[in-house]
């Protein structure tokens, strides 16, 4: 293949048709409240790890819903499980247990 000095980059668009949501569906069974997230961002704003790794439960949930497992798992790297996100969630989602469930279900690559 010829090197032109530039490449065809894969689309950054999320294609929901072929997003692999099998793990997410499994997660939904374990944590049905995950669907209640309305992306208010309280969790991210309160998160002490956000400052270090951009950890955000809001983004985490969205990423999982869009099948972006890699990005989601990476975000968990600095989670300290302090539980502040659970304290502030206006929809009463047990984000702390959600994180543990994700840690259990998903894999680091």
């Amino acid at each position: 293949m010829m090197d032109f000095g530039f490449k065809i980059s894969p689309s950054s668009a999320i294609n929901l048709d072929n997003a692999d949501l099998s793990l997410y569906d499994e997660l939904c069974k374990a944590e049905p409240d995950i669907c209640k997230c309305m992306a208010c961002g309280s969790c991210s704003a309160a998160c002490p790890a956000n400052r270090f790794s951009g950890m955000s439960v809001r983004k985490l949930i969205i990423d999982l819903q869009r099948g972006k497992k890699k990005e989601a798992v990476k975000m968990l790297s600095d989670c300290m499980l302090c539980g502040k996100c659970t304290m502030v969630c206006p929809r009463g989602i047990n984000t702390r247990h959600l994180i543990l469930s994700i840690c259990k279900l998903y894999k680091e690559d």
Partner: protein, 356 residues
């Protein structure tokens, strides 16, 4: 797809195009990419249809390419345009037709801006006067050259030697129409058929016997995007967009692509070669690409002009399979012969994309 629904929209976006007496301005880049196209436009309009099309050697670029590359300010591009209008006024014309889509968009944008901000127009008049002591009247009608071919499409169809039909099967050819972004996306009412389903090329295809393909990424840019290509660091972005378009049209197996913009045919033609080299993928039949034409070239083909006189040998994607499909006669040996039968030499053939 409900065809009547589209027709209803087309009916809402009809634009008044005078029949005759046009001041014609060329594109900066087309003559290098597809030199036969503009020549064929004037040839058809003047010699086939006997219309009055005036052209002056004094006209320049409209400045649009620099404007869209962010290299000149708005006042500059407006003054350049004002000078073009002055040339038209001096020549005694009121109808202004541009060969280039970006020019067309540029003229429309500037005229609309002047409508909204008359003080800007006054300032530009002053600047033009200071710069070259010229005055201008605003054109009564501004059209893109494809608007005129659209207008004359049925006249051309009457005189046509060929139709866009597969000679072997009798089926209409599957044609992708690609409209330049600056044609009607900025001002939908200024384009034939509006922005969502522009009719300008569809009308030609339908009159000349082809079938229009409506594929999901039909609205997408060809990938040129001015600074996306001109800045080398962005070039991957440019080709990625072209790639996306081809991926989207691929399942429909189009026979050809018709465009009405200077950049689009060039990039859709040349990037097919680059994509083939990068990905090993071709989109036409038997390892060929999908031939990409300007509307003037297609008009010339159906009217029976010699493909090599239309400059089709300058296309990267080989046009011969399509010519064979339609049944257009051509002399393969004459492909690389100049006007004076001088040998133009044969280009090196690409490794992946099949060419003749």
């Amino acid at each position: 797809m409900i065809y009547q629904g589209k027709q209803k929209i087309w009916a809402d976006y009809q634009k008044e195009i005078p029949d005759d007496h046009w001041f014609y301005v060329r594109s900066c880049i087309r003559q290098n990419f597809f030199p036969g196209a503009e020549k064929m436009f004037l040839e058809i309009c003047r010699n086939v249809l006997h219309k009055d099309f005036y052209e002056t050697e004094n006209h320049t670029t409209c400045g649009g390419i620099a404007y869209h590359c962010d290299t000149i300010p708005q006042e500059t591009v407006m003054t350049i345009v004002a000078r073009q209008f002055a040339l038209m006024t001096e020549a005694g014309y009121e109808n202004y037709v541009a060969s280039c889509i970006t020019s067309f968009g540029n003229y429309i944008e500037i005229l609309e801006t002047w409508n909204e901000f008359p003080e800007l127009e006054t300032r530009i008049r002053e600047m033009l006067w200071k710069a070259c002591r010229r005055e201008f009247k605003k054109p009564k009608y501004v059209a893109h050259a494809s608007d005129l071919i659209y207008k004359y499409r049925n006249l051309i169809a009457e005189k046509a030697r060929y139709r866009l039909i597969n000679r072997n099967t009798g089926e209409p050819l599957k044609v992708v129409e690609h409209i330049g972004c600056h044609y009607s996306k900025m001002f939908p009412s200024k384009g034939v058929g509006g922005a969502e389903y522009p009719y300008v090329l569809c009308g030609m295809i339908e009159s000349w016997g082809g079938n229009v393909i409506d594929y999901p990424e039909r609205r997408h840019c060809c990938g040129y995007g001015f600074r996306q290509y001109h800045v080398k660091a962005n070039r991957g972005y440019s080709i990625s967009n072209t790639h996306k378009k081809f991926e989207s049209m691929e399942p429909y197996h189009p026979d050809m692509i018709i465009t009405n913009c200077p950049g689009c045919p060039y990039f859709m033609d040349r990037w097919q070669y680059a994509i083939a080299e990068m990905e090993g993928k071709t989109y036409g039949e038997n390892g060929y690409g999908i031939p990409v034409f300007t509307y003037e070239e297609v008009a010339g083909l159906v009217l029976g002009y010699d493909p090599w006189d239309l400059g089709l040998q300058l296309h990267q994607v080989a046009v011969e399979p399509l010519l064979d499909k339609i049944g257009i006669e051509y002399d393969p040996a004459a492909k690389y012969e100049g006007l004076d039968h001088k040998d133009l030499l044969r280009p090196e053939l690409p490794g992946v994309l099949r060419c003749c």
